[in-house]
């Protein structure tokens, strides 16, 4: 289920990805490349499912540690590596939900989301990557504002700039993201 949603998304990269996976199976030090190419997706998926930032970080970390440990057992069957990672993530989330459910039987166990939601996760993945490519001062403001959830005043104080300048950077950063987004999807 998870696999289908993604298989549609990334058909062309299969050979390259297979090469990366096999390299990492021979030499775990190569896992870094798989991490780099999948971090945002895994984080976006978990973040969208669990919402809480601490828990998202916790689960993301666990997904990659498990993936590294189980990599020798990963078999290439034409399913994107990302799908395997998201499967691990989905299982971990379900496990946690069940545990919490037993702890508090009033909560219903949340059903895994339907396939159509993966497009949304892909959108966020692309967006997070675009943030990394923003000019440095815009990126800094966007990260402080959205990832660290700081107020304009706090950011202005930390960066030694006026609140007006920070708002302007936020505005330009979002505009820039939108333009790059349209470029990549238009």
């Amino acid at each position: 289920m998870v696999a289908r949603g993604l298989a549609l998304k990334a058909p062309g990269r299969e050979a390259e990805e297979r090469f990366l996976v096999e390299a990492a199976q021979r030499d775990p030090a190569k896992f870094a490349e798989l991490y780099e190419s999948n971090f945002e997706r895994v984080y976006a998926y978990i973040g969208w499912r669990v919402r809480d930032r601490e828990e998202t970080e916790d689960l993301t970390s666990e997904v990659f540690h498990r993936a590294l440990a189980s990599l020798p057992r990963f078999e290439w069957r034409g399913v994107p590596f990302a799908a395997w990672l998201l499967k691990i993530a989905a299982n971990l989330i379900t496990d946690r939900r069940k545990r919490q459910h037993y702890a508090n039987t009033l909560d219903p166990v949340e059903e895994p989301p339907p396939d159509t939601s993966f497009e949304l996760v892909e959108h966020r993945t692309q967006l997070f990557r675009l943030v990394d490519r923003l000019p440095v001062d815009q990126r800094r403001v966007i990260v402080m504002r959205f990832a660290e959830q700081k107020s304009i005043r706090e950011i202005a104080r930390e960066l030694g700039r006026t609140e007006g300048a920070v708002k302007q950077l936020q505005f330009r950063g979002l505009q820039n993201l939108r333009a790059r987004w349209d470029e990549g999807n238009g």
Binding site: P28, F39, H123, K167, L174
Partner: protein, 655 residues
């Protein structure tokens, strides 16, 4: 009424988005279409990962991956290996083989491990004496280790509580040790003897005379305890508490506050210390100018302990890194001159395997035609814990007399069109002109600042030297914009901006004087990678391994990274000199050798000049005081790079 600016209106929308955990796009407050689109984007950005989280997790995974590559590692590697305590004394001796034989006879020691180097010296050995492990090695002046005769004494005694002090001392004296303090009852309630062995190390033995003291120390009978002499006892105690989480057990102070004797525990081990007492030959490392005994500490988390020690004021002699002998360790000097190796055991390696790795490592070091061998160890230093001591006579690595604003390494670009080059740098890279004058050869000499770095430019006018175009890895916030701008100002493109798989977006141009500029923006929280500066020299030598060896020998360079292909080609390497990094990749295609001129700020131009000549450089100019306030000398290395080593001796610059 003033109209609110767009950025203000947008921020109000962002506030609304951030204020609630569940704002959906549909529930956004109304706004004009352009702003509404941006606000929708903002809702999706709420889950943006924190920048340091991604990097931290990557480091964790890399650590885990490295450990996974090591064969036969059971899941439980004890951070402190079997048989070791937190503290192990590490002795540097002039004749380690002789010392091992002597310690067998004198103290009933047994040899556990011996790693001979190709030249016959012992790189590292371990013995058991009593219930303790003792490490020892021969003297390696090239790694800064010195034995007691070279240091002129020792600021560390190796002390043992024993059942029968007379027996221990008599046996050692029969074997050839000399009594410094003959065995006798002391008024503080111990029977005590102190010896010097034929190699200059000092040993103390005590048997408590009172039952309560005997009870206290019975557990550490036959365990080696370092006894440190420090210039300022109470400051040292404070430092060891902060750096190594030491616990103070007791202190005896003179009426004037001088520490006569103090006892601390670090981990499971006892450490004793006292102030100096020249009358008993107890001198501090500072007055001796070094120490032949390093204190080796096994800890659970070497990175955390090393950071803590550095925060408390320790100096890094060798940064923490994974070592081929199964430890992750670093070497530190404390503010009182004692040297510590902080280490975590990360892999169980058999002595045979250590020897095999050592051999393959030595082959790589000597540049022998090798390609196989465990590549993951190429970044390890050869410096086994062996490296005990800093040498007072060697040029210290703390390159101090550097004028404000300069880094250790400054590239010096020379060109016939120097003034035009200067204009180009100002236009294309926002270089700030700090100085423009006429150089000794009649050309222009200029200095500019780009970001956190400086560059020197020379040539033009009456100057008739050979231009030395240089390749620079330049970090900027927006590669695409800088690239476009450089082309507008007359540079030619080598390659267009593209995302590189090593985490940068980069583009290359050649300027009017033939310099290469590898313009790059790092993806991530900062546009310059950690450890690098705005400006970094990039070399394309034909044999990078030899260049690296030369830089190590001549300038105490430290190899930070090396990425080699299966055929041994070095695609990319980084070496650190002082606070600067020089990068290189083996010559290929458009990237052919570009001999480069370096201006290197050091603590002692004369000493480094001599050292560079010894390493195989030829003299360009002898050390001399220059009217601009530097004392400098020039050498050319075997690869045609020119190095000026300089110490700032007088402030005459206006900048």
């Amino acid at each position: 009424m003033a109209k609110r600016s767009l950025s203000q209106q947008l921020d109000e929308l962002v506030d609304a988005v951030l204020a609630q955990p569940e704002v959906t796009e549909a529930a956004l407050p109304p706004a004009e279409p352009k702003l509404a689109a941006l606000a929708r984007l903002a809702t999706r950005l709420r889950g943006l990962p924190r920048q340091d989280f991604k990097a931290r997790l990557k480091t964790d995974l890399e650590r885990r991956a490295i450990m996974a590559t090591k064969p036969a590692v059971a899941t439980k590697v004890r951070p402190i290996p079997e048989g070791f305590r937190t503290v192990t004394p590490y002795l540097c001796v002039k004749d380690a083989a002789g010392a091992i034989e002597f310690y067998k006879k004198a103290f009933g020691g047994t040899e556990k491990l011996r790693l001979p180097m190709p030249d016959g010296r012992i790189g590292h050995a371990e013995m058991q004496i009593g219930k303790s492990q003792i490490m020892l090695s021969d003297e390696f002046p090239e790694y800064g280790t010195a034995s007691p005769p070279s240091v002129g004494g020792s600021p560390v005694d190796i002390h043992f509580y024993v059942e029968d002090v007379d027996l221990w001392c008599a046996r050692a004296i029969t074997a050839g040790a000399r009594a410094l303090v003959p065995v006798a009852d002391q008024d503080y309630g111990e029977r005590y003897g102190r010896l010097e062995d034929p190699f200059g190390h000092r040993w103390g033995f005590s048997t408590p005379l009172k039952e309560d003291r005997a009870q206290q120390v019975r557990e550490i009978y036959d365990v080696a305890t370092p006894y440190l002499v420090v210039a300022d006892g109470s400051k040292a105690i404070d430092f060891y508490k902060e750096a190594f989480a030491a616990t103070e057990l007791m202190r005896l102070a003179d009426p004037d506050g001088r520490i006569a004797h103090a006892e601390l525990t670090i981990g499971d081990s006892l450490v004793m210390l006292s102030g100096t007492a020249p009358e008993y030959g107890r001198l501090s490392p500072q007055s001796l100018g070094g120490t032949p005994v390093t204190i080796h500490l096994f800890v659970e988390d070497v990175d955390a302990v090393a950071n803590q020690a550095v925060a408390a004021g320790a100096k890094v002699l060798r940064p923490v890194q994974d070592q081929f002998y199964g430890e992750r360790s670093g070497r530190l000097e404390d503010p009182f001159g004692h040297v510590w190796i902080v280490s975590t055991h990360i892999e169980d390696v058999t002595p045979e395997e250590i020897r095999r790795r050592l051999d393959s490592f030595m082959n790589q070091q000597t540049g022998a035609t090798q390609t196989q061998g465990p590549t993951q160890y190429t970044e390890a230093t050869m410096e086994h814990p062996a490296a005990g001591v800093t040498r007072p006579e060697a040029p210290s690595k703390a390159l101090k007399p550097i004028p404000r604003g300069f880094q250790t390494v400054t590239p010096y670009l020379t060109a016939q069109q120097a003034p035009e080059l200067l204009d180009f740098l100002k236009g294309a890279f926002d270089a700030e002109e700090l100085l423009r004058t006429t150089g000794s050869a009649g050309g222009m000499h200029a200095e500019v600042r780009i970001g956190d770095s400086r560059l020197m430019i020379g040539g033009g006018g009456a100057w008739r030297g050979t231009p030395m175009p240089t390749a620079i890895h330049l970090y900027v916030t927006d590669t695409d914009a800088v690239y476009r701008h450089a082309l507008e100002l007359g540079a030619t493109s080598i390659h267009e901006p593209m995302d590189q798989n090593y985490g940068e977006r980069s583009a290359s141009v050649r300027d009017l004087a033939g310099n290469h500029w590898y313009i790059a923006t790092r993806f991530g929280p900062t546009h310059v990678p950690e450890g690098l500066h705005t400006v970094n020299v990039y070399l394309h030598p034909r044999s990078p391994a030899q260049v690296i060896d030369f830089m190590k020998q001549a300038f105490a360079a430290e190899e930070v990274a090396r990425y080699a292909g299966p055929d041994g080609t070095i695609h990319h390497a980084q070496v650190r000199i002082g606070d600067s990094v020089i990068e290189m990749g083996e010559a290929h295609g458009p990237y052919q050798p570009m001999p480069t001129m370096f201006y290197l700020y050091v603590d002692d131009a004369d000493a480094w000049y001599k050292r560079a000549l010894q390493a195989g450089a030829t003299s360009v100019s002898e050390p001399a005081d220059q009217p601009y306030g530097d004392r400098n000398a020039g050498v050319k290395d075997p690869f045609d790079n020119v190095w000026y080593v300089a110490s700032h001796i007088k402030d005459v610059r206006t900048s």
